[in-house]
Symmetry: C2
Subunit: 307 residues, 2 copies
Amino acid sequence: MNQIKIFAPATVANVSCGFDVLGFALDTIGDEMCIRKSDKKGITITKIEGCNLPLEAKKNVVGAAGYALLDALDSDAGFEIEICKNIKPGSGIGSSAASAAGSVFAINKLLGAPFNKTELVRFAMEGERLACGAAIADNVSAALFGGFTLVRSYNPLDIVSLPTPSELYATVIHPQIEVKTAASRKLLKATVPLKDAIKQWGNVGGLISGLYTEDYDLISRSLHDYIAEPVRAVLIPGFDKVKRESLSAGALGCGISGSGPSIFALSKGLERAQNVANAIQKVYQNIGIDFYVYVSKINTQGVKIIS
Amino acid sequence: MNQIKIFAPATVANVSCGFDVLGFALDTIGDEMCIRKSDKKGITITKIEGCNLPLEAKKNVVGAAGYALLDALDSDAGFEIEICKNIKPGSGIGSSAASAAGSVFAINKLLGAPFNKTELVRFAMEGERLACGAAIADNVSAALFGGFTLVRSYNPLDIVSLPTPSELYATVIHPQIEVKTAASRKLLKATVPLKDAIKQWGNVGGLISGLYTEDYDLISRSLHDYIAEPVRAVLIPGFDKVKRESLSAGALGCGISGSGPSIFALSKGLERAQNVANAIQKVYQNIGIDFYVYVSKINTQGVKIIS
């Protein structure tokens, strides 16, 4: 095998109660990348479609993640990479994570799969370090493992792959505004009230239990965020109304995707997820902010080989 | 049915990462109670063995919990209750919870089971309110449901019954010292570092995932407490050594049971749980503090009818 084409999914991190630990992958939104072996040592990005991102490999997350893998092997291998970016950077649905996860997945495959998925997460995190200054794992874990993933611990890195209820669908709306991750992180306080923290881990427990038992009501009751959403929602115009409308339209829950500006909702069944999409897009039509809206099954596979 | 005899299990609350939300029930330690219908309206405690506790029903958790149930039904029914207390008050393994859970379970049964288990938890919480000033739910939930239970939320009350891996055994050591719950609670700060809270809910997620998948390694990796144990352990002489010895003897994890002074460890298999018991009792033998030590399967049934 000298060349593969892959799909690297968009991902939702945080997932309400799961601030900094939970993520899930989307099935119909993602980047495509074509990776082929090359005689030239190292990573060469030959083309980027859909976004204005650096072609210089070491300045692009694709390269940062890929080189982390190659350096671990002390490898002389060379790869040419073409990227078709469908996930806009700054969307809050894991644009950099998709690039980083896609890169390490494909390179690993072409090298005969020397690394397992958790090891790939570690390399992909180097892409995140370049993109946002912190080697976060929640988006890249979801992109590589698929389904719902839990980052139980960073040190040592411990990723737990969680089950995905079969009728669970995501609706994501991406208002065309910019929310800087740094600004969003700055709003968080260094300490939180113990009583809120207890509610949060009660809900993490409830959500994970609901995923195992396909208990959609329990999932719904658990999708609350007492930590990040209360302080971050102000950065996203219309957030409260989008949340209200999504719940009225039957969503199980609704929250900020990553650090925004995208907003996600989870629903039982495709029809309801589409109703939620219809309801929430009206909010931004009325406000007069452009948006993209997506409805997607949960991707249970992670990065996939297309050809 | 005019009379039943029940076994009400001792319980471990908090369970390391699950501060204030998780609990589990023990199988071989618990109180026995005999409850019979009586012509005299209300609750009459006729006998208490094993402890010096008030016979006056309204001053005893058995009565406080039982009356909460009877009041909800506006019932004229009467019950005589004999209590054989094997769980010493102040032990940290749910002495008051066993009394409260046993009382409402038995009365409900003799009345034809008008209430479900979650409703019974609510009544039993009134016993906890009398015993410790706060209507806490973690011990009574574990005592009534059995197995591992999650108090996802207090308002509304939402109890999630979790699965119990078949080879999981508990070792509990109860040093004969007094730790006041109030003193123990006072050590907790009203706010906690966000970074610690995130580790805590990552571990709650890992522990619950491990219970569903019977992944003992994941259970072990998740049994850490960044919130209560670091500040409360000082109240229990020998805690650090007990923890170290239990882990050396092969325990999956070890922590404070409730607010102490009992210490619990979880192990895979009876033999290892017994090895842990042997190792940790030496600690208190050396310090010269009297103790009880128990090894028990996890009780998966909750309060049980004996006859």
